[in-house]
Amino acid sequence: MQDANQGSVDPEFQQGIEDRESSPHEIPSLPVGQWLRQNLFSSWVNSVLTLFGGFLAFFALRGVLNFVFSENRQWDAVRTNLRALMTLSYPESQYIRVWVSLGFVAGLAGLSAGLWANWGGVSVKRVSTWLMGTGGLLAVCVIVREPSVILGSDGKVVRTLEGSLQRESFLDAMVNRSSWWIAAVVLLVAGIVLWRRFASATHRGSELPVTSVVFLGLGLAVLSLWIAPYGHYAFISETKSYVAESGRTVAFSTKLPWTVMLALLCSFFGLGRLLQRSEYGGLIKGASNLLWLVSPLTLFWVVLRDPALDYGHVISTDLPMGLAFGALGGAVLWSLTRTGVGEAGRLVATMLLGFAIFNWVAAFFGWYPMLQKARISFLLLAFAALLAPNFMGEIAKRRQLVLGWLGVTALVHYLATMINTPSTVEVQSSEFLGGLGLTLFVALIVVLLSFPLGVLLALGRTSKFPIFRMLSTSYIEVIRGVPLISVLIFFSVMVPLFLPDGMELAELAAVLTGYTLFSAAYLAENVRGGLQSITKGQYEAADAIGLTAAQRTSFIVLPQALTVSIPQLVGQVISTFKETSLLAIIGLFDFLRVANSVIPAQSEFLGVKREGILLVAIIYFFFNFTISKYSQRLERRVGLGER
């Protein structure tokens, strides 16, 4: 089930693979005839293979095109349900919240892209080859596709007396597809012009910035929303009817938000570029990273839910509690980082930890009431106190710890308050989001939560403590031996059984727990690979300069191990994302389920499955392909496989 092999080909071979693959591109000056002879017809075996491959490619392409353009396809089903696929039944009147969230992400993405603007360039030659290739492929597609079925004046297919379909002649088909021809020719010409202008000897190696190519592409896509007649389609949930007007541009409520998104992306990119050079560049980079970490939770639980705050309770309880934890905890940490604290500090930290764990045990047995928020805060404070010896000494370092504590407290208390207040947004399904939103939410949460757990398990499995090793090993091996679907079913069906009286867990939360526990076992194996690649010398060196075990692990071992396992970790992220599709089986409304069961149940589109599933497949492909390509780039940048 888990196929972490996406990136797990040994980096050294990966390098070799890329070297060998790129070699044909390095001699583009070969004349066409010679290139053909060398690459396709070098021997008679090769020629036979070429013919075979050609047939295969022809029939595969023809099959796909005929499937997509068949007169039996009801693409209306997908067009009218696009919104359902993205967010299921999020109320129309509150939809601005979705756009605000998306706008926040777009702005943040633009800002980060600008701040880290070291995107390099893409050679003009590659862009022009890409344009020419796309144009050529488009032309081939137009020719290969079967001639369309003739439609009568009533818009229905015309059949001959024997009952077979009547298709237009090949020439008619070619003429009728003139708009496709124009697109193909435009692409080809653009590619050739670029090639002629820039690929000459004087401009050899000239490059276009990646960002401008991306922005140009996005800009053209958004512009086409205003110009191209994609048609106006919508599903009206109140009347259970749908609007389908072809020949128009898309609805205003679609094109305006997307234009705003693009504007946000571009302007924040510019802002990021400006700030990058300012003296606060480093600080803003840190802040943007923190925002990325926090934004999923904030957006999903705060913006999309709209908590109805009870201000009396906030002022009487929540605020004072947060302030108290911030101030008292800060004071404790400040005193624990004094130089002379020594053993007493550790003792206090251990006692705090004991108290925090006891709190949770008490919660399980219901010995005494306490706000969950306070229990979490005590646990966090205990961890911060354990970390204190690492921040001992200078004022600046001590201040770092205390400031960090204040930030964490503020965040945790804010989120806890927001999550605990009921939402004013009423959604049909039990989750506040469905469709692609739910898929992304689950993937993000699982990746974020399983990471620390997986690292802990990997450390346990490689630890010198036999009982820890035994526990982690058996956990990892048992989880890796069973399929994810059985774990998810177990958690969605069984969790209520294991909870004490009076405690409840929403189905989504139960599934998230199970999925996180599952994913952590696989992540642990990937991290273990990295841990094993750390040589003994690193440990000895860390011991020699007098680091404690915790310091050695967090400052010497883990940074190196995690860097080495980046490809595997990215592969793990991709499989986690792919396997969110299993939510459809256990009854959550992710976008696969919308395509597979919700759309086919609508009276207009009874049984129309294939179109929706194909769209889902394309969206998954887009995300996964992008991530894996990006990870290869990242690998090259951190210099994996080059040492």
Partner: protein
């Protein structure tokens, strides 16, 4: 304190709460107790809740008629819950084995295509791999399922070749090669043939090593098996007497007293731990006598001893039913074998049956004679095969690229032909790199067959879900799933490890 003895500082014992060994074990024992406590608490909670909702956790449903119909399998109308789950297991294994076989072939071909000199094949391979591995398996399965479901309805004259191959929205139906009467006797002949062929192969190899002439050891061994197999086709009934041996074995097994088996198992449990501890002590022995044992070593020995004793107590006291179960099932097994080999089974070992379309009631359907694949099977099969083969292709490609170029050049310099160089030099080295990830993929494929639940193919998960929906016994069913999948994983890793060890570079 005298300042003249600085070295003694190292021998001074720290206070117990700073003693590394004490802290280490205290923390570990605490963690173990916490884990066990948490598990115990959860189990108790589940037990209470189950009792409160009147669903006792027992395995009685295994012998009660569940009243369910399965969509496909060796028995579509099982008369007990255990039988239903067994059918599910067989379906899962069938899918996994067929899938592994085909996915390996497709994967190797695509992997080689990606390394080909031919530009077109290379690009096709890349498109295949990148498309299929980036689309989730479940999406693929549902898509294939939706396509198969939209095929034409089944009719009496359904094509493409009526009477031989049928393809419709009921699935695929084709000629079936099946085990007939004399198969098991014939297998004995084949077994003898294998033995003889192995002997011949070894002799031929020895001859070739001696004389240097090509003696075709594999080819001749293979030929011998074919000859013996054809001979056996006619003479196999003479092995009918084997059935009598099995039936007397069956009655012998059922005569064993239960207590003996019980004591034997307990003895085995203790004996195993004693054997392990002895071996462990031996491994810690140096020429100078027993090396100093660390606290970890003591822990291991105590752990092994406790495990052995606990196992003995468990088998002797807590689970007395186990021995009678072992005796009964052993006797049943021999009974079944004796039936299979019984005298008078003189028919052909293997037979072929053509598929047919029958009409019982209103609608035509496939008859039971052919090899029928339901839509669900086809969807899951194509799904796991394509998905896994994309990963296998990458493994094959990586493995072959991992063989240094010098090896190919050295083989060429020795004057080896390209085919021989590939077979004798490159593939053995590539296989060593490929095998562990390949085993992982086989495991993934087996686990992935559980997605069959989405298209209604009766694999173990789907059957299990139906069973617990009927009976409410969720926990026992989940435990059976876990047990089944863990044993599958274990067997695959044992097989892969076996080859891995065999192919390892022999170091000095």
């Amino acid at each position: 304190m005298a300042s003249s003895a600085p070295p003694s500082i190292h021998h001074e014992r720290p206070p117990f709460y700073r003693d590394v060994t004490v802290v280490k074990w205290a923390v570990q024992v605490l963690a173990l107790m916490l884990t066990i406590g948490a598990l115990w608490f959860l189990a108790k909670q589940a037990g209470d809740n189950l009792r409160a909702s009147n669903v006792p956790t027992d395995y009685n449903f295994l012998s009660v008629n569940p009243g369910i119909d399965l969509s496909s399998g060796i028995d579509t109308d099982p008369d007990t819950g255990g039988r239903a789950l067994w059918v599910g297991m067989v379906n899962t294994l069938r899918m996994a084995i067929a899938g592994i076989f085909v996915a390996t072939i497709v994967g190797v071909l695509v992997g080689l295509a990606r390394l080909s000199n031919n530009w077109l094949l290379r690009k096709l391979g890349t498109v295949f791999v990148e498309t299929l591995r980036n689309v989730p398996l479940l999406v693929q399965i549902l898509f294939y399922g939706a396509i198969f479901a939209s095929l034409d309805r089944v009719s009496m004259d359904v094509g493409p070749i009526n009477g031989w191959f049928h393809l419709s929205n009921k699935g695929l139906s084709m000629p079936r090669v099946h085990i007939a009467d004399g198969f098991y006797q014939w297998m004995i002949v084949i077994g003898i043939g294998l033995f003889a062929a192995n002997f011949l192969r070894k002799r031929r190899i020895a001859e070739q090593d001696l004389s240097g002439e090509e003696t075709y050891p594999i080819l001749s061994a293979f030929g011998l098996i074919v000859v013996i197999g054809i001979l056996g086709w006619f003479v196999h009934p003479i092995f009918g007497f084997v059935g009598n041996i099995f039936s007397s074995l069956s009655s012998a097994v059922s005569a064993i007293p239960e207590g003996a088996v019980q004591v034997l198992i307990a003895f085995l449990s203790v004996g195993l731990s004693v054997y392990w501890i002895r071996g462990f002590l031996k491994s810690r022995r140096t020429p100078a006598g027993l090396a100093k044992l660390t606290d970890d070593d003591y822990f291991r020995m105590i752990f092994a001893a406790t495990g052995g004793v606990l196992g003995a107590v468990f088998f002797l006291v807590l689970w007395p039913g186990l021995s009678s179960w072992i005796i009964n099932s052993g006797s049943d097994l021999f009974e079944v074998l004796s039936n299979k080999f019984g005298n008078g089974r003189s028919g052909r070992p293997i037979d072929v049956a053509l598929p047919e379309v029958v009409q019982i009631g209103k609608f035509p359907n496939y008859g039971p004679s052919g090899l029928n694949f339901s839509i669900g099977f086809a969807a899951v099969f194509f799904g796991v095969v394509f998905y896994t083969s994309a990963f296998i292709a990458e493994i094959v490609r990586g493995g072959i690229l991992a063989v240094p170029k010098g090896q190919t050049e050295a083989a060429a310099a020795l004057g080896l032909r390209r085919s021989i160089a590939l077979r004798r030099v490159i593939i053995p080295q590539a296989a060593r790199v490929m095998l562990p990830p390949l085993g992982n993929q086989y495991l993934n494929l087996t686990k992935n067959t559980s997605l069959a639940i989405a298209v209604g193919y009766s694999d173990i998960v789907q059957v299990g879900q139906t069973v617990y929906n009927q009976t409410g016994k969720t926990l026992p069913v989940v435990s059976i799933w876990m047990f089944f999948y863990l044993s599958c994983s274990l067997s695959i890793s044992v097989v892969v490890n076996f080859f891995n060890v065999r192919m390892r570079i022999v170091e000095r």
